[in-house]
Subunit: 328 residues, 2 copies
Amino acid sequence: MKTARLLLLSLALLLAGRVQARGGDPLPSWREGPSKQAITAFVDAVTTPGSPQFVPPAERIATFDNDGTLWAEQPFYVQGLFALDRVRALAPANPQWREQEPFASVLRGDPAAALAGGEQSIAAIVAASHAGLSTDAFQQLVRDWIRTARHPQTGRLYTQMVYQPMLELLAYLQQRGFTTFVVSGGGVDFMRPWAEQTYGIPPQQVIGSSIQTRFELRDGEPVLMRLPQINVVNDGAIKPVSIQQHIGRRPIAAFGNSDGDLAMLQWTMAGSGLRFALLVHHTDAQREWAYDRSSAVGRLDRALTEANARGWTVVDMRRDWRVVFPTP
Amino acid sequence: MKTARLLLLSLALLLAGRVQARGGDPLPSWREGPSKQAITAFVDAVTTPGSPQFVPPAERIATFDNDGTLWAEQPFYVQGLFALDRVRALAPANPQWREQEPFASVLRGDPAAALAGGEQSIAAIVAASHAGLSTDAFQQLVRDWIRTARHPQTGRLYTQMVYQPMLELLAYLQQRGFTTFVVSGGGVDFMRPWAEQTYGIPPQQVIGSSIQTRFELRDGEPVLMRLPQINVVNDGAIKPVSIQQHIGRRPIAAFGNSDGDLAMLQWTMAGSGLRFALLVHHTDAQREWAYDRSSAVGRLDRALTEANARGWTVVDMRRDWRVVFPTP
């Protein structure tokens, strides 16, 4: 009994330490200003017991786009670069690709030409690079790739191309009782192998695009095979649909950076009670990239107009963020 | 500082109380015997630090079928009875239904004749009863119905037709760090409005069948409209597919009662490390129902054969359960 008391006392002292630590700034990479102020005011209002806008923990759902919101998407979506690497890796086993588009262009080192065929070309590359293997095998492929592949311009690992201020924001919300979800146009099985370690978001809280899979018994052994057909492209007006299907509860906060996130932000803000919508505006050509209304990747046009009209929080990356990427 | 210490001491004492309370039997409605023993031995093995079969909390995923596993499914699936009630409620606004099958049979009080048309009839009833309204409106409909509708034979609310031993099992797993999911052939939006209160399972941990929905702006107001097309029927070989899509992690424990759960149990048991599969066998004609290999609802045939061959836990409801339904 004495030992149990001592253990509990140690626990109590530990807890006291944590309470003190929480007194520090939870968002040190955010400069003081309207964006940071809007975030903390919202979180305080919905999490402080007795606040008129208090929201019970179970309803504190926050959804985050991934590409351009949590990690960089320039010069091209990371998953696209994974697909090109995979086509190159599979080329020796597929000699016919040297004569066959879109693969021939990829192998010649001209991905722009490969994508000139539009959706059909993309579908062919996705099928070749993402299907025809089991879900377990694909997961291992992604793990191996993300551990070693490096960004073509910065030379960093892609898991080091995440935004430090957004990592702090995720941790802050999680500490304040939010359940945080990724809701991305990226492939769900491409994000899950590294999202838990990188974002603190477990696989069941990652929602994304997917291809069809089929349950099979192979020599009595159950496998899930990845088929070369698209199941869902989780972008634009599909995001609220997939949020409803997957979460079944309307978020009270949503975070995006492009027109593909507009419907998610609209859906979030249309609920009752206090709500929060934020767009990351890429304004920092020096430390990251600067792009918006006319960008082919991550276009931010209609959503920026609507955010300004409705008073949603628009992060000016250059001004609002003290640092962009984590210190390696 | 003194106050803080006192608060923490109170917390410590509270925790001590909980630890003591946990010493009691977590499964009082389960009679001592091989089923109960198998459950607690598995849970102890995967949750006790230092155990060779220890599984970290993030990987403690448990999936439960609903109809016939967590609540009764006889004489017919509860959601089917909801659909029939809804057809009757909508009949005055649809006078043509009196001449039109399958609705005419429903309105004549002959659901068996209504279902004689097979899948096409079911699809027509689902479309009429589950579509053509917003997700918010449908949720409210289900809430209102489940609060008042009663089982045709027992006169109980359906949320009182859940199995007390399974409620204890859910709570036991949740207390031991498991994340519990419903993986049902039932409609996901039919289960979510009451699953949180009844099972302690939040909406994002409910996986089920669904119809298609569409995001629309109606007078600038975003809505998700339920369309009269089936999206997915979450049964049989689709269960592992939806588990992968929704959870992205293989369960370490799975609970079912029919052949529709066999693939889920196979998928669960084929993973590495210690795993657990359980079938509820309905053997209690007196307190519930007795049915298995030849039942139209909840047929348990191939799965029973495989469970016996592989040594999975098969609950004999009559012997293993001290009580079936909760005391009202």
